[in-house]
């Protein structure tokens, strides 16, 4: 028990929690934007893979770190656009299209990686984002390591939370996006484009998801591995329901998940002798399911989620 308190008080634990939460923050925000506009995007898992692969590949080819981030965002946007075309103007099943995007994006990434690097035994490494070194702030006790020695991408994720919150709650665009997810007919009656709002939201949301993947290869690790996304995208889909489609709660959910994940790694080293390590590995997924079960009853789904809308047909 004293071990647990020791862990919870350590700065390295909270720094790890925020680090683990970073890709999820990007992913949950992306999923939130898509779903607020009324479209479920199960392409998220594959878009994570694409972001991880293309961002890493761009840097490896010499594009620079921020060039890699741009490439990752654009490739996420491309697969988002594909999902948007299939689900918005064509009105096809959002479930099946999303799974199709995940399978397609994953196999495109794996195939491209293998084709570019046919015979590598150990994955080539890049120089990833380095921890920030801000005078004074980074040297603060506790807050320094937890907040100010993260990489620039983590800060980008936190700023994105604020931006998404602002756009959703304080701008006409945000009102329109939420309206198109609740009642597209009313948006159409206002003379706004339902298709445009939905497609735009999916494209922007998908590029955020891709940044979550890019964080994995460009900040958390320094190389691309097959299977490295490992369900993080699906976890985001659970977290967005847990967060009832609110950016602030999404950040909270991602941090909560990150801290449980950081805790299980530490408990594993503490208690590995008594309990098989896999028990701890299961914890994050089981927690996501539990969070979903708790949130499901009161979940206030965007009312037009999963419902296609066609112009001139009420």
């Amino acid at each position: 028990m004293s071990d647990l308190i020791f862990i919870l008080l350590s700065d390295s634990f909270w720094a790890a929690s925020l680090r683990i939460a970073t890709p999820l923050i990007f992913g949950v925000l992306g999923a939130l934007i898509c779903e607020r506009a009324g479209v479920l995007n199960l392409g998220i898992e594959g878009i994570f893979v694409v972001g991880a692969m293309t961002g890493w590949m761009a840097v490896w080819l010499g594009a620079g770190l921020w060039g890699g981030i741009l490439v990752a965002a654009l490739s996420g946007a491309f697969f988002g656009l594909l999902h948007a075309i299939l689900t918005v103007p064509l009105g096809l099943s959002q479930h099946v299209s999303g799974l199709g995007i995940t399978l397609f994006a994953t196999s495109v990434s794996y195939f491209s990686y293998r084709t570019a690097l046919p015979n590598v035994s150990s994955p080539p490494r890049i120089e990833p984002f380095q921890p920030l070194d801000i005078p004074v702030l980074s040297d603060l006790p506790f807050l320094g390591p937890v907040l100010f020695q993260q990489t620039a991408l983590t800060w980008r994720a936190l700023r994105r939370v604020a931006l998404v919150w602002y756009v959703m709650n304080r701008t006409a665009l945000g009102v329109a996006i939420q309206a198109v997810g609740d009642n597209p007919d009313s948006v159409d009656a206002q003379g706004l484009s339902v298709y445009g709002l939905r497609i735009g939201s999916i494209v922007v949301g998908s590029s955020l998801m891709a940044l979550g993947g890019a964080f994995l290869t460009m900040s958390a690790f320094d190389a691309f591995f097959f299977g490295m996304v490992n369900g993080r995208g699906w976890v985001c889909i659970a977290l967005v329901i847990f967060a009832s489609w609110r950016p602030g709660k999404a950040l909270f959910g991602a941090l909560l998940f990150g801290s449980f994940d950081a805790l299980q790694v530490r408990l594993q080293t503490e208690m590995g002798a008594f309990v098989p390590g896999q028990v701890f590995l299961m914890v994050p997924y089981i927690l996501s399911i539990i969070a979903l079960v708790i949130a499901a009853r009161s979940a206030d789904y965007p009312r037009a989620l999963l419902t296609p809308w066609f112009k001139g047909q009420r």
């Binding site: 199960l42 099946v96 195939f111 979903l292 001139g312």
Partner: protein, 357 residues
């Protein structure tokens, strides 16, 4: 202006033509990645065809590969018919396989004659249990089964690794994470000499036949389709929706469990954590290509298995990454989706009344 409107009376021809066209388009689109990989595209297609139909052995390999896909395809097709989104067939497959090696590797004293039937029944039951849990969470708490089944895949895979390094580990396996082999009496007999194709294929075909009959002709199938098309209306008509969902969940999970049984007791003989290269997810593609029809699942599984086996031998011969197979499979899913749109809707000029363009 153009406008999209539903077709009045969908032609039955579409339901045959669309999947075939989608498959052809996906295969044709594979030329792009092949060309990028620097392969001779024509020769590559040639290699794929001979890789599947070049010899009796290669065709038998294709049938071997199709067997688990028929099971997982049926699992997806039946559940999707009721709009129960079982994306967890991959995990349910491993539950079935774990049950099979747990009972089949001689840890329990089971008379030889009933060992194989017991393996089959328990494997199906384990898969069914794996789908019953998310269905309970859906009907009782309203937890979205898409997310729960997806996440349970990971939980089950980690549980599998725990079992393979623990209770199920082969004591003679030199510490490898693999199970003890299934006893000979517990194995599904092979269908042909010196070939790997096994009697799991027969079970899969029988399952498809039963599923087709039940879906089209039985009251159970009628209720299931009613629930899928409009759950509220079905409830209003006195159908117990939750009961129907549980019924199809158990059958869907059971079929996925049988995929695991068939792979482990028909092909591999022992269980490792890489038993399935994503059969659960590929089953979804199979089901969609089949238009969610059980008989169609058999045809679609043969096609997808041909893609995998053909692309495997092509990639060996031409030095192209074998991920090309996954690429073709995922493209055929997207193609059949778009094809389904063409079948259901037509684009009309808004100012030209009802005239089709």
């Amino acid at each position: 202006m153009i406008r999209i409107e539903p077709r009045t009376g969908t032609s039955r021809v579409f339901s045959f033509v669309i999947p075939i066209l989608s498959a052809i388009v996906a295969l044709a689109l594979a030329a792009v990645p092949l060309w990028f990989a620097g392969a001779n595209v024509i020769a590559a297609y040639g290699e794929m065809v001979t890789g599947v139909f070049g010899s009796v052995f290669s065709t038998s390999e294709m049938l071997t590969r199709a067997t688990p896909l028929i099971f997982t395809g049926l699992a997806a097709a039946l559940a999707f018919r009721a709009k129960l989104w079982n994306i967890g067939a991959e995990g349910q497959l491993y539950l079935g396989a774990m049950a099979a090696v747990a009972i089949g590797s001689g840890a329990f004293d089971v008379p030889g004659i009933i060992l194989l039937p017991l393996i089959i029944v328990l494997g199906a039951a384990a898969g069914a249990a794996g789908m019953a849990v998310p269905t309970y969470l859906k009907t009782r708490f309203g937890a979205d089964e898409v997310v729960t089944t997806l996440l349970l895949n990971f939980v089950i895979l980690i549980f599998l690794q725990m079992m393979l390094e623990g209770p199920l580990q082969d004591p003679m396996g030199l510490g490898w994470p693999q199970s003890s082999p299934i006893l000979d009496q517990g194995m599904l007999p092979p269908l042909m000499d010196r070939m790997r194709v096994h009697s799991g294929l027969i079970i899969a075909l029988v399952a498809a036949g039963i599923a087709q009959f039940m879906l089209a002709r039985s009251v159970w199938g009628f209720k299931l389709r009613a629930v899928g098309e409009n759950a509220a209306a079905a409830r209003h008509a006195g159908i117990r929706v939750n009961r129907s969902l549980f019924g199809v969940a158990i059958i869907s999970g059971g079929l996925a469990g049988l995929a695991g049984v068939s792979e482990v007791a028909g092909l591999k003989g022992y269980l490792t954590a890489d038993l399935s290269p994503g059969f659960g997810f590929t089953g979804i593609v199979v089901a969609m290509l089949a238009g969610l029809s059980p008989v169609g699942v058999v045809v679609a599984a043969l096609f997808i298995a041909s893609v995998f086996v053909g692309a495997d031998s092509m990639s060996r011969a031409m030095g192209v990454s074998s991920f090309i197979a996954d690429l073709i499979v995922s493209m055929s899913l997207l193609c059949v989706l778009v094809g389904g749109f063409v079948a259901r809707y037509r684009i009309v000029r808004a100012d030209a009344g009802k005239a089709p363009v």
